[in-house]
């Protein structure tokens, strides 16, 4: 596909997404808009792991650690300041700092991929248990009671920047959440198109070669991990804003596993896929929750099995391959044929291709 055509197509897609975001509250009932807001917040979380796993090659089993820290940082700050503006900032900065410390030990200590998974998983469990055991008056940060297992109720939701008296309506929250999703998506697309992003992908492809060319894989992976943590933290703030409530279950292992399922279903190595996977799975889970016939975990497990066995690449890469096969070049030149062949024979996740 010619580069210019692709850029135009992408610009049109972004424009359509913006129109859709703007139009949704007008045409859809409030309950559904609220549900979509939740999906959008979760999709930001999906993007954070999609980026570090799909492009940085870092499989974190504990992305909810940053999600939860972001949520709690937002809640504590919002209660103390009674203004969401600094709280949102803190929800990004606190998980990023935590990711920096954790990443420093993990990557500069040259811990292997398997142990990275184990450590991130364990950190999530530790955070869950710590926050879980904070019930009682003595556990508070400033004015904010941590509340232990019961969590923190009635957290102030988003307000206009620096104007706590103007609390956002659910529709405005939708604009903010969906807008944040689009912004994070575009930011990551831009980053991956820039030299820095190409280096991140190169480290995923071959760490040894990257270091033999003079790149420091430890630093690059650490920075990737920090950015992933910051995005997950933002997702945490968006999530708390949606429910005005945060509890230790935000650190739960089942959610950590669910993110991995979103990405597997949507397509590892893409940014669009995990968003699609997230919304699709969350929609299914939400609908299963309203009936008693099937257990939602059973269905999730079945969906994962089906995808791993039948669509191992995930939805978006499979759809892209089909599209490339269905739409042949208008005048099949040798060059064009070559390109299609190589794109079919390409490894499961060609870098940055979407």
């Amino acid at each position: 596909m010619p580069a210019r055509f692709r850029i135009v197509a992408q610009a049109i897609a972004v424009l359509l997404a913006m129109v859709a975001i703007a139009a949704i509250p007008a045409g859809i009932e409030l309950f559904t808009v609220m549900q979509l807001t939740l999906f959008a917040a979760m999709a930001v979380l999906a993007l954070s792991l999609a980026f570090i796993w799909g492009f940085g090659g870092i499989l974190s089993f504990g992305q909810t650690a940053f999600f939860g820290l972001g949520g709690y940082a937002y809640a504590v700050a919002a209660i103390n300041f009674q203004d969401s503006t600094p709280a949102i900032l803190l929800a990004i900065v606190v998980p990023a700092l935590f990711a920096a410390v954790l990443g420093y030990f993990v990557f500069f200590g040259r811990i292997s991929d398997v142990y990275l998974g184990v450590i991130t998983l364990t950190v999530t469990l530790i955070l869950f248990n710590c926050v879980n055991s904070t019930s009682g008056e003595e556990y508070h940060i400033g004015k904010a009671l941590l509340g232990g297992f019961n969590g923190m109720p009635s957290v102030p939701t988003f307000n206009m920047p620096f104007d706590p008296s103007q609390v956002l309506s659910p529709e405005q929250s939708w604009y903010i959440t969906a807008g944040a999703l689009l912004a994070v998506f575009l930011l990551l697309r831009l980053l991956l198109a820039l030299p820095a992003g190409r280096v991140i992908v190169a480290v995923r492809e071959n760490e040894v070669r990257a270091s033999l060319l003079g790149y420091d894989p430890r630093l690059i992976k650490c920075l990737t991990f920090i950015l992933g943590g910051a995005i997950a933290g933002l997702a945490g703030a968006l999530y708390v804003n949606w429910g005005a409530f945060v509890s230790p279950t935000i650190f739960s292992l089942s959610l950590s596993a669910e993110i991995i399922i979103w990405i597997t279903v949507g397509g590892l190595g893409t940014l669009l896929g995990p968003i699609v996977g997230c919304v699709l799975i969350e929609y299914i889970v939400a609908n299963i929750g309203s009936q008693q016939l099937l257990n939602s975990n059973l269905v999730l497990g079945a969906v994962l099995l089906v995808f791993v066995l039948l669509l191992p690449k995930g939805l978006v890469p499979t759809a892209r391959d089909l599209l490339l096969r269905l739409v042949p070049a208008p005048r099949p030149k040798v060059e064009r044929l070559d390109e299609t062949l190589s794109s079919q024979a390409a490894p499961p996740h060609p870098a940055g291709a979407e």
Binding site: A202, R204, S211
Partner: protein, 242 residues
């Protein structure tokens, strides 16, 4: 005025893996612009030696100096930035990226954005992959992937180039082209080549170092090394006799 500092100097270099001594008290000197061939049977310690030179392994004892600066124990990327480039024995390329992007990642470290495009094209031309520039490296033939890696090493323009079996898996014609490239880049920089293919070594070699059981067995011109009885015994026996 002090004596000229050699480009690379390894002194009493020893690398132990548990009870196995892969490199045993190796002392090795390479001058500026020199082309050196490193030969020896499998397990002689050639690749281990390369790995200690590039920071992939930290030597058990001994010192390595690059232009007088100690490099033993430094990280791979620090050594790479000082100007040592390596093509490893098992091809280390970015399989999921295009040929152009592979080369660009190497060029990028030394060139300004404006210079990068022409520099990448020049390297693609040299390794004769211009027509395949946009293909994903994983889809290339083994010989071509070797070229991509050699191209990356050249693109970074290191002061010292280490090539571990550059002609492995190449056709005779490709091997000949490799030899031509090696002679060409040797006009401006030093190279150490590990190779098993004696025809290839005869095409390029000036001075040859023979490794055997982790030690330097002999170091001399190519004709003298090939005539050396000990070298024939440990390694070349069959090939030279044939």
């Amino acid at each position: 005025m002090a004596e000229l500092v050699p480009l690379l100097k390894a002194e009493h270099l020893t690398m132990r893996f548990g009870g196995v001594v892969a490199n045993d008290d190796i002392t090795f000197t390479l001058d500026e612009m020199e082309l050196r061939c490193l030969i020896g049977p499998n397990g002689a310690g050639k690749s281990t030696f390369f790995k200690t030179l590039t920071g992939q392994l930290v030597p058990t004892s001994g010192a390595i100096a690059f232009r007088g600066l100690p490099i033993a124990g430094k990280e791979s990327h620090q050594i790479a930035r000082m100007g040592i480039g390596i093509k490893t024995q098992v091809p280390n390329v970015f399989n999921g990226l295009s040929v152009r992007e592979n080369i660009w990642l190497a060029v990028r470290r030394r060139a300004t954005p404006r210079q990068q495009g022409p520099a990448v094209n020049a390297v693609l031309e040299m390794i004769r992959l211009t027509d395949h520039a946009d293909r994903i490296v994983a889809t290339l033939a083994h010989g071509q992937r070797q070229w991509v890696e050699i191209g990356m090493v050249l693109a970074a323009e290191p002061e010292l180039i280490l090539l571990d079996e550059p002609a492995a898996g190449m056709t005779d014609e490709e091997t000949f082209h490799t030899a031509a490239i090696i002679r060409e880049i040797n006009q401006t920089r030093a190279i150490i080549v590990v190779e098993h293919d004696m025809e290839f070594i005869k095409q390029i070699a000036k001075k040859v170092t023979v490794f055997h059981q982790g030690r330097v067995l002999v170091e001399d011109t190519v004709s003298k090394v090939l005539a050396d009885q000990r070298v024939r015994d440990v390694y070349l026996g069959k090939k030279v006799a044939a």
